[in-house]
Symmetry: C2
Subunit: 255 residues, 2 copies
DNA sequence: ACTCACTGGGTACACCGTACCCAATTACGA
DNA sequence: TCGTAATTGGGTACGGTGTACCCAGTGAGT
């Protein structure tokens, strides 16, 4: 049993200070035996290996060999820790930003980047990303996307719309896909077994005649891989966005 | 602090029995003073009003005026309760299914239906929907979508891909939108205040010259409403899917 | 040497899901 | 009619959670 942890519940400016590392060491008192980074890294490692539910303050302190309450000397609370985990995990190869790509390649990278990120850290889907604090890594990603959409005649707001749309799509499909993968890992019940359990109830429902479309569906309809759905949807979405961009280009050409 | 609750963690066939209501009352023993439906309804009401985090067995029992452990006479555990909440909340006007719509209208209804569902019950985004148990309402929704995509020359798997894509898109964008709305409600910090807190740190980052695109962004770039992003993205996505369907139609015509 | 900001961390509290009991209730078999 | 078996109601208790509150120990500044 787990719950989507709320990030950003704590003191915002405190979290930002931690994110951007503006804290100076005070001159008095003993030197800290821990670092923020070690705590965040340990938390991510635990989340990757055992899921977000396994990340508790007691568990982390055990992992780091300290007292539980010592962690609160570095992080105001668990919510802020999640903020920090979010930003750290979003760091990616800065070389990828160097190249100037076309809009389609850029958006494909945005979508595939999000997909791979979720694949690597499925627990991200469990974190309430409502208001991800603007960390350095998040800003770098946005900058990359904006540059790829530059010079197409789109307004600022339209560029943001496009980016949020592509990211939302990737997130939504990744959620469906990865939740299923995680469910299997967690419960030990494979997809096949899961659907097998449904068989009796589904057959009874089909017999009622209320679901002719589903009854007529072939066996293989549901066996598609999540990646295929993602690629199909991404292609369609970008085709549609391409049409929008082309229309914009025609508008500006007329003027 | 909250966590995405895992549905489907419990005994699957037990949950299915509850979903499809195949349980007969045993002849002996006292009559139950509660019903499954009352429990599920109360749980949904609490989740709607105060979020998923407020839904605890103790809280529900208080709401219903019973002992906490009595709930376990009706529901195997909290995971199964979530399964039931999921299906109950997905019920919609059966009349909407009566009409036969074109593929675009159908997919628009699927997407808008999902969007409105999340708007009404934002906590749905917190529930792990990896493997939603096939309840009667979920099946009705899928049936509706499949019918709208009938006769277009798509394979079974392609129709499923289209539906998952559209649903994933709606879910992803709704997540971004509603998490922001919920964050405001929960923390009392408005979007404006939230971004204001970022100002000093963002300005310092801009001064570094690493983010020229974001620095050049107009004030209004981020003030767009979530609904606008949704409508923009939905339009583009359906345009793209339309192109795919048209290409398929040409294929079959050639044969 | 004294002071005092600082770090480390133990204890305690309020909450959670739920395993395990036992008492009260009800209908069937004798 | 009277056990008796099945079923419901629910109290208690356990192991988990985040974290408020303290106090002891550290080490640089005066």
């Amino acid at each position: 049993m787990t719950t989507t942890e709320h990030s950003g519940s704590g003191d915002i400016s405190r979290s930002l200070e931690l994110l951007w590392g503006t804290g100076e060491r005070p001159s008095r008192g003993p030197k800290p035996g821990l670092t923020l980074e070690r705590i965040v890294t340990a938390a991510i490692a635990v989340a990757d290996a055992e899921g977000l539910a396994a990340v508790s303050m007691r568990r982390l302190s055990a992992e780091l060999g300290t007292g539980t309450m010592s962690l609160y000397r570095y992080v105001p609370g668990k919510a802020e820790l999640l903020d920090l985990m979010l930003d750290q995990v979003q760091s990616f190869d800065p070389d990828a930003h160097a190249v100037d790509l076309g809009w389609r390649e850029t958006l494909e990278m945005v979508a595939r980047g999000a997909w791979q990120l979720y694949e690597r850290h499925p627990w991200l889907l469990q974190v309430d990303q409502a208001r991800p604090l603007l960390g350095p890594n998040a800003m770098a990603g946005l900058e990359f996307a904006l540059r790829g959409l530059d010079g197409l005649g789109l307004t600022d707001r339209e560029r943001i719309h496009v980016i949020v749309t592509v990211d939302g799509f990737a997130t939504g499909v990744a959620r469906t896909h990865l939740n299923s993968v995680m469910a299997e890992k967690r419960t030990g019940v494979s997809d096949a077994e899961f659907w097998k359990a449904h068989a009796p109830v589904v057959e009874k429902a089909f017999a009622g005649g209320r679901f002719p479309m589903q009854a007529a569906l072939g066996e293989d309809a549901f066996t598609g891989r999540g990646e295929d759905v993602f690629e199909f949807g991404l292609g369609s979405l970008l085709d549609g966005i391409g049409a929008f961009i082309a229309a914009r280009a025609r508008d500006t050409a007329e003027k």
